[in-house]
Symmetry: C2
Subunit: 290 residues, 2 copies
């Protein structure tokens, strides 16, 4: 039995290599993350890796990357951490450091044409006509009256990274937040999402909450979680780099996994749930590689 398994594994590996080597290959299961599009956030209690999304929010990614490379976030604190909602960090509000950063125009949605595609997940999701994935990012889609055209926007899910802002649409600068609770989908389309946690989400979940329930002891600001460092992975000394691959959401294997997940076709489901999928409740796998 073991021998057969080994042969199959070898064959699969060969097929995998061939698929990756082909010129127009899109059907690879894993996608390697580029080191200059990945950020290493070092917290006192663990390491977190973020994949950036320049294809969706180029200006936010450019500014965040620049600030990261300047060491802007090193030593800043998560000052607004609400359990079940978000963990937000940035320099002291109104400080010289805070004011030194340019405001960004909102990047929350994009027009699509007939050449644009995504992996569909669910029609008539509570918040959108259609949900799906593109490059591992959860999104929503709304078709236009014009055939083949529409609008796409990234959705808030646990692990989503977005820029905080004031009341005005174009008022984000450097303060950012991670979603740490049930997806606050009502923020979709009115915030600039520019990345997602691909590794170490448990450490993001463990960031010290700053708000407590009424009647409870306040959390001392000295206990707020500090960012030890925020670095572009390509700037991290080689020995400390974390190399990752994430599931390719455009692969046929991912599509098959989605079909299976919708069917819940195993013995545990003695009664089948409705054949629907919450786009924020589909884990996109990550693996560490050398």
């Amino acid at each position: 039995m073991k021998a057969i398994a080994k042969t199959l594994l070898t064959l699969t590996s060969l097929l995998f290599i061939n698929a990756c080597g082909a010129d127009n290959a899109t059907d690879y299961v894993w996608r390697k993350l580029a080191l200059n599009n990945t950020v290493l956030l070092t917290l006192p209690h663990g390491k977190v890796v973020i994949e950036l999304a320049p294809q969706f929010s180029p200006k936010h990614v450019a500014q965040f990357t620049e600030l990261t490379q300047q060491g802007f976030y090193n030593g800043t604190k998560f000052y607004r951490v609400i359990d079940g909602f978000v963990a937000q960090a940035g320099p002291k509000d109104g400080s010289a450091k805070d004011k030194s950063v340019a405001l960004l125009a909102m990047e929350s949605a994009w027009q699509t044409d007939k050449n644009w595609s995504f992996t569909p997940i669910q029609k008539q999701d509570l918040f959108a006509q259609q949900t799906g994935f593109k490059d591992g990012f959860a999104l929503a889609y709304q078709a236009d009256a014009k055939a083949g055209q529409g609008k796409g926007w990234l959705t808030h899910c646990p692990g989503t990274l977005a820029m905080a802002r004031g009341n005005e649409a174009d008022s984000a600068s450097s303060h950012f937040y991670f979603v740490i609770g049930q997806a606050p989908r009502y923020l979709d389309g009115i915030m600039s999402i520019f990345g997602r946690v691909v590794y170490g989400m448990q450490h993001v979940q463990a960031i010290q909450r700053t708000e407590v329930v009424e009647g409870d002891y306040a959390v001392d600001h000295r206990d707020f979680t500090k960012i030890i460092s925020m670095q572009l992975m390509s700037d991290v000394p080689k020995a400390e780099q974390i190399h990752l691959e994430v599931e390719n959401t455009e692969s046929s294997q991912f599509a098959e996994r989605v079909v299976k997940r919708r069917k819940r076709d195993n013995a545990f489901f003695y009664k089948k749930p409705p054949p629907v999928l919450d786009v924020c409740q589909i884990p996109i796998r990550t693996r560490r590689v050398k």
Copy 2:
């Protein structure tokens, strides 16, 4: 100004006392949790309080309470903790301790008649015809063809406490799990939910994950989070008891808050989100009292 505020406060207090004292009073904003219906879970890194739901799952609550009072869970570990999904604990699978506990029949849904009521939240939720709250618990509802009759069931949300089981419906005994990620609503109606976290959810979120991504270092089982103690709050020495009140989801004030939340009627929402609500994304407030 202060004087007026004080008078108003006094009047409100009097009204509050009157309302609570009246026989059919339902319109109080806060509901005090009974100490014998509340469980104190002490983890190495913090204290967690659970409200039990005997009105929905009486046999599961009875068994969990009995086991808790026997000290059954003291020293057991969270052995299956998957980031974004659940934290599960219980005695060693197949051990004498494990086998000593009676199996429970599923308690996942109940029939309703015209005398039953709940606080509605959302029609045509992705997973159910209708969602809502009853006694602070998120639920789903499906009307029968017969007027006034229907079926209700509790839904999985972050903080939900349910009994784990094997493939058979009636195979739960002592192993339990907390939901720590995006609501796995596909488990609704096929698991017995019997409580929810009302305090210290951040500590549940910080339970050591036991599963890691492919290629990462395995977590040593000696690092798994241990339950220091699980006690019925009424059995806890008085000085260490945590007294809580939770928002009364049957109050008109809660209903008003839901209306406001749906409207998103403040300046931050320069563009209004769809007027829908995810039942798992409405925090039910808790406060500590003496």
